[in-house]
């Protein structure tokens, strides 16, 4: 990454961080001395680099590729106007890269009713984009709430995209893998919270550095 590109990126982050600091100072909120957890290790794994095709396919198709190690589980409800649909979320990965942050989680029903889901449950204002753009992570140390990137086609303003998963039309007890990429975390950040509308904040999620 060139320093020129990162300079402006950091400046824009600094604006929000400064705003956050202003808000925190105004609220005189924190004299909490709670220590920060240590950063999560991502260790080198194998001494041998020689694989067979079958081993590689098994590792990708059946192994834990950020989808199996459950970091936290929370129950809540998907909101559909006055109706709420009970659901469970398992967070399986928070991975911090240099320029973005990857979060993976699984959404599943708590019973066998296999309910149809409204497009608005994680997308209150632009449901026709059929994605989960309202999910957020909170970097408390930096004082920031981060949302996935959203985009509009330069050729056709009706075409949009999100660095986040499409909205599932139904859910069952099997579980739907969902994911999103967010702006980069502060380099000192070791834990984040995940905010999903209708669910309690999932706090203290350990951040893996890649």
């Amino acid at each position: 990454m060139t320093s020129r590109r990162l300079t402006s990126h950091r400046r824009s982050r600094a604006v929000v961080a400064a705003l956050a600091l202003s808000a925190m100072l105004a609220a005189c909120s924190s004299d909490d001395p709670s220590p920060k957890p240590a950063p999560t290790e991502v260790a080198e794994t194998q001494a041998s680099d020689d694989w067979t095709v079958a081993e590689l396919e098994q590792a990708v198709l059946e192994g834990d590729i950020g989808t199996s190690t459950v970091l936290a589980t929370v129950t809540g409800a998907l909101l559909d106007g006055p109706r709420s649909i009970p659901a469970e979320v398992e967070v399986t990965e928070v991975a911090a890269d240099e320029v973005s942050t990857l979060v993976r989680f699984t959404l599943r029903a708590v019973d066998d009713s296999n309910p149809m889901l409204p497009l608005t449950f994680f997308n209150q204002l632009r449901p026709l984009t059929a994605d989960i753009r309202d999910v957020a992570i909170v970097d408390a140390g930096a004082g920031l709430r981060l949302l996935p990137f959203v985009g509009v086609s330069q050729a056709d303003p009706d075409k949009t995209l999100c660095s986040c998963a499409g909205s599932p039309p139904r859910m069952s007890q099997v579980g739907q893998p969902l994911s999103a990429t967010f702006p980069a975390l502060d380099t000192a950040t070791t834990t984040v919270s995940l905010e999903l509308p209708g669910f309690p904040a999932i706090e203290g999620l350990p951040v893996a550095r890649r």
């Binding site: 194998q46 296999n114 990137f149 086609s153 203290g204």
Partner: protein
Amino acid sequence: MSPRRPARTTRALAILATAAMLLGGATATAAPGDDRALPPGGVSVDGQRIPVHGTFAYRGFQLDTNPEIRGAVHGVRRIDGGTVLYYSLGMARGQGAEKISPTWAFPNSSYPYQMSRAVDVALIDPVGLIAYRPVADPTTTFASDVTKLAGEAGALRVGWAVFPELPPGVETVQVVMPWGTAVGDVPVEDGALTPVSGEPAPRLGDGWPQTPSGAELAGADPSSRLYTLTRRTSDIAGTAAVEETTEQVAVTLDANVLFASGSADLSAEAQQVLATVAADIQARGAGEVVVAGHTDSDGSDSFNQTLSEQRAAAVLGVLQPASGAAVTFTSVGRGESEPVASNATDEGKQANRRVTVVYSVQGVS
């Protein structure tokens, strides 16, 4: 890249997670056992280097009753006339199907793309705030034929897509796979992968698909495949939300914090927040700064119109002297005419009571 973690690291993660979740009020569970873990960066298979820069998992149509599709990203590489993404995908055995259905793997492609092409992928430059979709010309879509990619269960087949050329400074992009599935950061490297296979979708380890030549890509219109991205952040309290593109910054300030109810007198908190906004305008603002006041629907139209005008003017009065001479200011009151949420709920009304500050910025964001 999502390497599987060794048992020791998994235990450490579980301990960290348990401690964190006990503090946070949620529950944590241990990880299942692992077989051979996928190392960061890639592996060698029969003497051939297989880069692995990230992994993904999704279910067709985002329905968890469909089989799970999984795969890996093997490269984002600059080639003559474009940028090629290499990935592999497949489906584990035992999911009730012998072969992947093409429509599970990718949504049906439509104009301007050919039918049955694997085009529901994107590259995202989160620093330059541009996203890229695959390129096409009037007769050719430069991406894998989905019907060739949809192989037998238990195997990974390699797919590809060509995107517009990335600017020289871009060294890392995010990859987004079908149905918005995130992969995370992937390095941008030079040159097509070798050896090249004669198959359109070779099994992983049997070489890489042939990519189109620069001459073949010359007829594609890259500009039609670009998306302007918005970075969205806010402070934790929600006092200030910032949406930023390469050209413009829009700050939405919570009027409930800036002002007392029904008043246009700025609070002490407002002075601090606005000083920060002004500093950013002074640093990189250009052209006209537009300050707009908005209210909820409580009260009469005329009262809300006047209140929104007064609040916008109050914010302008603080920003303008501190923002330098390179910009001009305009304030406007929108009253209750442009709600961003329903006025039928208290939460919606709170969101509607706001002041926005929109300004252009110079240079690459």
